[in-house]
């Protein structure tokens, strides 16, 4: 199993930490992982993205131009990465702020209203955890218990009381993700 993921959005949406959480969770599940952030000028107030790779085998290139899954959280990211999804791959997009729907017909597409859901939870900081939940529903490559273990590893002790909140956010994401288009394998 190898899952090559690009996560992209505005800086501040938790794009880089989403990739880190997925990778730390992968480590807890005994997988090989690689995380590569964009750190260039686009980080200073534009789009941010990171490449996360989870695999059973040793990972060769940490930077890629085609992906199994693209998680796009704003329109510029959709414009940039929709075409980078492999045929039969997966595109997940956040509904809020999107001005056009994806055009590809040869990929699986899911939408998630994660921002609205985070507002309902009175905590927009868990936005990215909702998206992770949605992703794991569609691509159950990591078990939830390993995500929690990963969070415990990443978060300093003083934030461990927030883990149940994050776990709830993951469950909400799993509940609200919507399949928009499925292609036959």
């Amino acid at each position: 199993m190898t899952e090559e993921i690009i996560i992209a959005g505005f800086g501040g949406q938790g794009v880089l930490s989403m990739g880190q959480i997925i990778c730390y969770s992968g480590v807890m599940q005994g997988k090989e992982v690689s995380w590569m952030p964009s750190y260039g000028p686009e980080m200073r107030g534009g789009t941010a993205n990171c490449t996360a790779i989870i695999s059973d085998e040793q990972i060769s290139s940490p930077v890629l131009n085609r992906f199994d899954t693209a998680i796009v959280l704003n329109q510029p990211s959709m414009d940039k990465f929709e075409d980078a999804v492999k045929p039969d791959g997966l595109l997940i997009y956040e509904e809020n702020g999107m001005t056009r729907k994806p055009r590809r017909k040869d990929i699986n597409i899911c939408s998630i209203a994660a921002y609205d859901e985070s507002v309902k939870m009175n905590n927009t900081k868990v936005f990215n955890m909702i998206v992770i939940g949605g992703f794991l529903k569609v691509r159950p490559i990591i078990e939830l218990e390993n995500v929690i273990k990963g969070l415990k590893k990443v978060l300093p002790d003083r934030y461990h009381h927030l883990i149940p909140l994050n776990e709830e956010a993951i469950h909400r994401g799993m509940d609200i993700i919507k399949e928009e288009q499925a292609v036959k394998k």
Partner: protein, 349 residues
């Protein structure tokens, strides 16, 4: 762990006595991590942010002159500033470790990854007939392991060692196993300036010899040392070479992207192998020469305008065609592009 942070932790664990640095993207995490970790409490290792890159390398010169395990790190424009100091350290035959997390140039360039400092690292950069031992990590794990190796080699040969990383290896995170904390050494080397002892001659550390006869002797001694390094310290990794009809040559992060292209090529039935020099100086001349007798062509892939390819050509010495593919200016070649270059320049060429 992040490449830069893992490298910084490795410096503490390798028993370094001191780190002197100055922040610059994409290597600032090295000094940030060391400042946060405060190794003075753990091992007594001193960490100082100097007023400039030039000051930092001269602090390293001073510490090395006292026989201490000293390290500095920077990225390309900062490394250029350190070149005078490195030439002096090489001339004075002192050990130290210098890390270059390369970004694209020339000039201030961009902060994105590049391998365009190959020539500077391998061929000189500073003045005079000197060599740095140059290690090129391709993983976060190697970034860690090479810090220890770099200190070992630096003291074995009393020569500066450079770790040539880049923006990808420095910024990425992956799994890493850290080696156990090594104790700091309090060995008093006979060449170190530790104050004159009664009954012993004073020790002078210098790279200045005004008598040409004396300077030639120094140079001959250095050259003899470099031949020893070339004999003993060549390191490389090959993959898929047993049945290879074609060969990739690449180092560092670019070798990993090329490895992906190799997997894609093999899936199409193209028998291609890869050689990845882990030491850029000394260069794996013999192995490349041997493989050149086996394959129909070699594609060198780099994130620069073609630098290591010159050493590949020297090693191949006309035995087989050598072509080059590269992206630069902070652009990163994709596996698709590399495969296409192999098919067009080598197989179809």
């Amino acid at each position: 762990m992040k490449g830069n942070e893992a490298l910084a932790e490795a410096a503490i664990r390798a028993g370094a006595d001191a780190y002197f640095g100055y922040p610059i993207t994409p290597q600032s995490e090295v000094i940030e991590y060391l400042m946060r970790e405060n190794p003075a409490d753990r091992t007594g290792m001193q960490v100082l942010q100097a007023e400039s890159e030039i000051a930092a390398i001269n602090m390293v010169y001073g510490a090395a002159g006292c026989g201490k395990r000293a390290m500095t790190s920077s990225s390309s424009p900062g490394i250029s500033l350190k070149m005078e100091g490195l030439s002096y350290i090489a001339g004075a035959e002192l050990p130290c470790v210098v890390v270059n997390v390369v970004r694209a140039g020339p000039g201030l360039g961009t902060i994105q990854p590049s391998q365009s400092d190959y020539f500077q690292a391998v061929k000189g950069g500073g003045h005079g007939d000197y060599k740095l031992i140059v290690l090129a990590p391709a993983t976060v794990q190697e970034s860690v392991d090479y810090v220890k190796l770099a200190f070992d080699l630096a003291f074995k040969y009393r020569n500066p060692v450079m770790i040539l990383s880049d923006g990808i290896i420095g910024q990425m995170m992956e799994k890493v196993e850290l080696f156990e904390q090594m104790p700091r050494s309090n060995k008093e080397y006979e060449w170190a300036t530790l104050g004159k002892k009664p009954g012993k001659n004073s020790v002078i550390v210098t790279s200045l010899q005004l008598q040409s006869e004396e300077q030639e002797k120094v140079n001959l001694r250095l050259q003899a040392k470099y031949r020893e390094v070339e004999k003993n310290e060549v390191r490389f990794e090959t993959y898929g070479c047993e049945d290879a009809e074609y060969l990739f040559a690449a180092f560092g992060s670019c070798a990993r992207i090329t490895r992906k292209a190799l997997d894609m090529a093999r899936a199409k039935g193209i028998k291609v192998g890869i050689i990845r020099p882990q030491t850029l100086y000394p260069f794996p001349v013999d192995e490349i020469s041997r493989l050149a007798g086996q394959v129909k062509g070699i594609l060198t892939v780099e994130m620069n305008a073609g630098q290591m390819v010159e050493d590949v050509k020297l090693a191949v010495n006309g035995k087989t065609p050598v072509e080059f593919y590269g992206r630069f200016g902070g652009m990163i070649p994709t596996p698709d592009e590399i495969l296409e270059a192999l098919e067009q320049k080598i197989i179809g060429g």
